[in-house]
């Protein structure tokens, strides 16, 4: 299974063009897609669950259509973020590999970019978790478990992505992006608590 014929980066312009099995093989065998892309895909799955719950709740929940539209929009942002994160991570790895041979400032610039993408993924995940909370509170009763699962998945994605922000900014941990990543983590954690509470 690990002996894949894929070579990065010319695997696919868009991960949506890959079958799930191919994506998993790729993830297991190549440097990229890595953890950031995995977080984005996890958040996309969470968003799709929210969309499902909201769509099924239109008769009993006035805002369901609007929540479904927003979840769908957030879901659509994720594949692009996954792809861009993989590209940024690969470029950072190349610069890291060159070590002292890398041009002055090149590594810093690439790590900087490699932190921007996980931050965008974390903030997208926090938004998905927020919508999952609404779906757990207001969605159709029989589907609230799906909404809670969506919140948990979104939070997992947020935590993974926020961790990557901190790692990639290690030299500059006082960077404002670390604080934003932490805010996204807190928001997602709060959404999960609320969703679990709503289900009881």
């Amino acid at each position: 299974m690990l002996e894949t014929t894929y070579t990065w980066p010319a695997v696919a312009d868009d991960y949506l063009d890959l079958r799930l099995g191919d994506f998993l093989d790729l993830s297991a065998s190549e440097p990229a897609p890595g953890a950031g892309s995995a977080a984005a895909v996890t958040i996309a799955l969470a968003a799709s669950l929210v969309t499902k719950v909201a769509r099924a709740s239109r008769e009993s929940w006035a805002e369901a259509g609007g929540v479904a539209a927003q979840a769908c929009e957030l879901q659509q942002r994720c594949p692009t973020l996954a792809r861009e994160d993989a590209d940024a991570w690969q470029l950072a790895l190349e610069a890291l590999g060159r070590g002292a041979g890398a041009e002055e400032g090149e590594l810093a610039v690439r790590l900087d970019r490699a932190a921007d993408l996980p931050l965008a993924i974390a903030e997208t995940g926090a938004d998905v978790a927020g919508l999952a909370l609404l779906a757990a509170e207001r969605g159709e009763g029989r589907l609230r478990g799906e909404a809670v699962a969506a919140a948990v998945l979104a939070e997992a994605g947020v935590r993974a992505a926020a961790h990557l922000v901190v790692i990639n900014l290690k030299a500059g941990a006082d960077d404002e992006r670390c604080a934003r990543a932490a805010r996204a983590e807190r928001a997602a954690a709060s959404a999960v608590s609320g969703a679990l509470e709503a289900e009881r």
Partner: protein
Amino acid sequence: MAVERTSSRLSDPDLVQRCREGSADAWNELVERFSRYVYAICSRGFGLSAADAEDAFQDVFTRVYTRLDTLRDDSAIRPWIAQLTRRVCLDRVARTHEEPVDEIADERLARTTEEIDEAFTVREALADLGEPCHELLDRFFARDESYRTISEQLDLPPGTVASRISRCLAKLRSELEGRNPGESPSGGQR
């Protein structure tokens, strides 16, 4: 891409009437209102290069200017401009390609034009929604901003952004249904 507002909210028929009366401001507004539409048909619909699309764009608005009096129904200005644009683009393609446009390309073109039309209908409805809905929906759906960014920029409590967007989408849906009674808009809610 951010949605830009048109400079006034004159209805299309009123704008056409002002153009007929010779108002230079009205002509400027007509070009502004439909420029992206024409350009989208040229570039996305017919795949013209930037230079060819620019030439076609000039050609279309020259024809609009010289033939506006032949428009029978002022409320049909947009489909009329679309038809003029298609003719201009087909002439241009015929001059530069030996092969005629085949049926499949024709169908694809029709679909693309339909999508462009739908996008512009939503854009107009968005502009008519007014604030804060126009800005909220534009920031979330067109600029891909997070709830946190929107709440900071518009000074809204973070927890209320999603609900406000939902309410604005409901307004947008009503606005679109008002334009197309009996039809369910595909651009408002999914």
